[in-house]
Symmetry: C2
Subunit: 197 residues, 2 copies
DNA sequence: ACTCATATATAACATGTGTTATTTTACATT
DNA sequence: AATGTAAAATAACACATGTTATATATGAGT
């Protein structure tokens, strides 16, 4: 064998992640990664065939972080947890979040489509959402995913009012969830009344 | 004087706009613009001191287009019109919209802060929004701006369900506006009842 | 101690970019 | 028609980047 490995695949991804966090995904270059590690570019090319492959690996890491945040957010109310976890991710890794929405659109789309059915199932177990049809739940979920993305983008781009705190964001997310669910319930009640008469 | 001007400032901006529409704002280069016009880079530097100045001019054009779309959307309900105009812009110029939200965050922030008071004033005239306090209106407007941004980002990145049409987008925007306003009214009524008792 | 596989370093190449210096061209003024 | 001004073309420079070819260093197995 040869000499000891001084720069592992993980270290490289971590260095790339740090750069992406401050300068955006486009800010990543082979030389910057090398500089951050105190190496040359050679170890990077041993671990990754090209900068594109490296970016793929980076996105996998980001996805895994977001999944971990979701695990940590378990308050017993799965529907709300997803929104809060996504929001937390957007706030803590704002630069990467922005780029992720843009660059890896295809990846996120697939990811979304995969977890949608599981989400609907979780929602069906939720006492707060008792009595809704699956179509109702789909509409509610879509509305909340839209709102959550908008809120995250605003947070990531500092579009929100200056004095807006993290708690304010959680509050407005929760409040809008209330609005959507409450309105859906009222519409449901109206429909029941109509079908009863 | 010298020879006739063959490439005007406007033509340059238009060429840059076309490139931005297909390749994003980062896809703009001096040479690409020149190629698209069938010229060299020289005329560009006559009109713009640097690529940054050119980008500023491009953003001005984008803003003016978005303003024009807002003019066209006049249905007599100003609160709804803004959302629909923004949505239409996001759909028709999706690539540029995405980049605009990211790149010119500061510009948009200023723009937003400028029109906010005018928007609140318009909302106060809206019969649908009778009886709300200014704080209520601010919350409603913020919620709708968040939802509108989320919906626009989803549209621009094709995150929405495949079969989703433009009309579906307008509908869900309108429906969520209903939700938010209806909930705010109910909260208001509860408060009035409480203060009456 | 020697050898050799291999991790790392160094340096170069190719390409794309903004920018500028220089040259060429067109046309209004004289 | 001659001339000078300004527009446009050309070409070069400086720099950053991905990638690769070559050189060096290190440590395990003999």
């Amino acid at each position: 064998m040869g000499p000891k490995v001084k720069f592992t695949r993980e270290q490289i991804i971590d260095a790339a992640f740090e750069i992406a966090q401050t300068e955006g995904i486009d800010g990543i270059t082979m030389r910057k990664i090398a500089e951050k590690m105190g190496s040359s570019v050679a170890p990077i090319y041993v671990n990754f065939k090209s900068v594109d492959k490296l970016n793929e690996a980076l996105i996998e890491k980001v996805i895994s972080i977001s999944r971990q945040l979701l695990m940590e957010e378990n308050t017993g109310n799965p529907f709300r947890d997803i929104g809060n976890a996504s929001l937390r991710f957007a706030m803590e890794y704002s630069v990467i979040f922005r780029d992720l929405v843009l660059k890896s659109g295809k990846y996120m789309r697939d990811y979304d489509e995969k977890i949608m059915p599981a989400l609907i199932e979780e929602m069906q177990k939720d006492p707060e959402l008792k009595g809704f049809t699956v179509d109702d739940l789909k509409t509610i979920l879509l509305k909340m995913r839209i709102f959550q993305l908008g809120l995250s983008m605003m947070a990531a781009n500092s579009f929100l009012p200056k004095e807006y705190s993290k708690q304010d964001m959680r509050d407005i997310l929760s409040s809008t969830a209330d609005d959507v669910i409450m309105s859906a319930k009222r519409k449901g009640f109206y429909n029941e009344e109509k079908s009863d008469s």
